[in-house]
């Protein structure tokens, strides 16, 4: 074997190793995106449940009860994890929570019911978690896109048939009277 072909074989081996390495990175990142998205979804479902339960607390005024109950119901009946419809429905729930839970005095009044008070604490916690979940998911998407945009990764189609990931564009405002 002459030196030229040894060089060629070495170069090919190196290229194969590099491509395999990049494919492995992509694989891990796609996995991370999937898990963070599911985690975000899990927290959203939890929020829907808490709001639905809040709406059913005896003594909550009927107007609030209807607003909360309906928005939570809309969110809970959706099946898809990530869809424009899901984003829209969750954003509506967020905006209703932000609008209805803005006055600390009013919230304190609702808190006079012990069950409602526990639920409001849980709601504050889950809103916080949703905000973090979304950030962690966006981080994963950004890390992944950085690699997918590399020339060799595109040429060799290392990402396979996996669609380019998109960040979940969710309104993650925390209701003012629940912050901190």
């Amino acid at each position: 074997m002459n030196s030229q072909s040894i060089f060629l074989i070495a170069a090919i081996a190196l290229a194969v190793w590099y491509l395999s390495h990049q494919a492995g990175r992509l694989d891990r990142l796609h996995h991370r995106i999937e898990v963070t998205e599911l985690a975000l979804h899990g927290q959203l479902v939890r929020r829907g449940g808490i709001v639905a339960e809040l709406a059913a607390v005896p003594g909550i005024d009927p107007a609030l009860s209807v607003l909360w109950g309906q928005a939570a119901h809309e969110a809970l009946i959706l099946q898809e994890v990530a869809s424009p419809e899901r984003t829209q429905v969750e954003d509506e729930l967020t905006s209703i929570l932000v609008m209805t839970l803005d006055e600390p005095e009013e919230v304190n009044e609702i808190r006079s019911n012990a069950h409602a008070s526990v639920l409001l604490d849980e709601l504050a916690q889950v809103c916080d978690r949703i905000k973090m979940s979304q950030q962690f998911h966006t981080d994963a998407v950004r890390d992944c896109l950085e690699i997918r945009e590399q020339f060799l990764v595109r040429i060799f189609r290392l990402a396979g048939r996996a669609k380019p990931p998109v960040p979940v564009d969710l309104d993650v405002q925390i209701p003012p009277a629940l912050a901190n």
């Binding site: 190793w17 898990v35 927290q43 950030q135 981080d139």
Partner: protein
């Protein structure tokens, strides 16, 4: 939840990161979680039962000082074994770029991984090279935490991405019932300084410059200086009479810190810069001692914009003298600061901080997805596994 925590620095020498890990682990255990900590440690018999040792750490020059780290094939094997046997729901690594156990753990595991950044070094070439080498390991980290805004800025600059800021905690209960040292503050009032006396950034010289003026207003006041480092040079400028009212304690054991802080009528933190948080301010507040601190950004934040303590203009000894003198002649204001300070410190108690950290764990957790050994670092493992395509999504 089953939580695996990795501490890259030696457990034998109490330091920032290992102390943080120990406090966090204990707070999580009190909350009812199962916790296992992996750390380098030389003396097995002294370890709390939640710590698993990877053996004697090796001392290497890292980041300008000597660090005691664990690395090499034997350490890597121990990390893999710990991950395999731990069956953790969440893996939490600390200081992931230190060339030690944390980065090894990132390599060896996959699943929900959280990383906490502690350091806020500005120019660390080591960190830069490492961030390239350890990139693959970092990509597996789902959630990042920074202990301060400065640590977060370092992370953004060197690694990219963002992090949630969750500050260090204070063990409030260790300070609440602090008893002052015998004879302190006594019939007279006293000022406490805690920190390296020979480190200019700690600002002892600013306090010493203000001291004669404070003594003119309050002739019976005393000054207590605690901490390592010889402050003699700084004290040279004082008159013999003023110097006689100064007590230099030297180094203080961690368990005595609370009584030193409680020995002051006021506690002064004249630091001139380089502080990313200010845990000692919170410790003084938890001890019930009113706090006077320079108006560094981090300090003002801890003082809650003056509600829980008084700030003076950084490096301005005239202003410091005025602030301290006023406070010494105003018992009502001191009582108010004591009360507000205790409330403020409670907000940073480890129980609160650990709850925030659990929120981070929960925000990346999915039922059924746990921390598993990762073979992808090895080519064979990767070829055998194939890629995830949308059709193959199962979890």
């Amino acid at each position: 939840m089953r939580i695996g925590i990795v501490c890259p620095y030696s457990w034998d020498i109490p330091g920032g990161v290992s102390a943080h890990v120990a406090d966090l682990a204990e707070a999580l255990i009190r909350m009812g979680h199962h916790v296992s900590v992996l750390a380098p440690a030389e003396f097995d018999e002294l370890l709390p039962d939640y710590v698993v040792s990877t053996g004697k750490p090796r001392a290497v020059k890292y980041n300008g000082s000597v660090a005691r780290l664990s690395f090499g094939p034997i350490a890597a094997r121990k990390v893999s074994k710990w991950i395999e046997e731990g069956e953790f729901d969440v893996l939490h690594v600390h200081e992931p770029l230190a060339p030690s156990l944390s980065v090894l753990a990132c390599w060896a595991a996959k699943g929900p991984i959280v990383a906490t950044w502690h350091s806020s070094m500005d120019k660390s070439r080591m960190m830069l090279t490492l961030s390239k080498l350890a990139q693959t390991a970092m990509e597996k980290v789902s959630a990042r935490i920074a202990v301060s805004e400065a640590a977060r800025a370092t992370l953004i600059r060197h690694v990219g991405g963002d992090a949630v800021v969750i500050p260090n905690g204070v063990d409030v209960s260790a300070f609440t019932n602090a008893k002052p040292m015998f004879g302190w503050p006594g019939a007279n009032q006293s000022i406490v300084f805690l920190g390296r006396g020979d480190e200019p950034r700690k600002g002892l010289s600013v306090l010493v410059e203000a001291y004669p003026e404070i003594r003119r207003n309050h002739p019976n006041v005393r000054l207590l200086i605690a901490g390592p480092g010889e402050p003699a040079d700084t004290l040279k400028s004082l008159s013999r009479e003023d110097r006689a009212s100064v007590t230099v304690l030297g180094m203080v054991a961690p368990q005595d810190k609370s009584s030193v802080l409680a020995s002051g009528t006021v506690y002064v933190a004249p630091n001139t810069g380089g502080e990313s948080f200010g845990i000692v301010l919170l410790e003084a507040m938890a001890s019930g001692t009113p706090v006077v601190a320079s108006d560094l950004e981090a300090f003002v934040r801890v003082l809650d914009n003056g509600r829980a303590g008084v700030a003076f203009e950084n490096e301005n000894s005239t202003d410091l003298a005025k602030v301290v003198s006023d406070l010494l002649s105003d018992p009502a204001r001191r009582a108010e600061l004591t009360e507000q300070g205790r409330l403020r410190a409670a907000e940073f108690d480890w129980s609160v901080v650990a709850n925030r950290i659990v929120d981070v764990y929960e925000s990346i957790r999915v039922p059924g997805v746990t921390v598993e050994p990762d073979l992808a670092g090895q080519m064979i493992g990767r070829l055998g596994r194939g890629r995830i395509t949308p059709e193959m999504r199962s979890d």
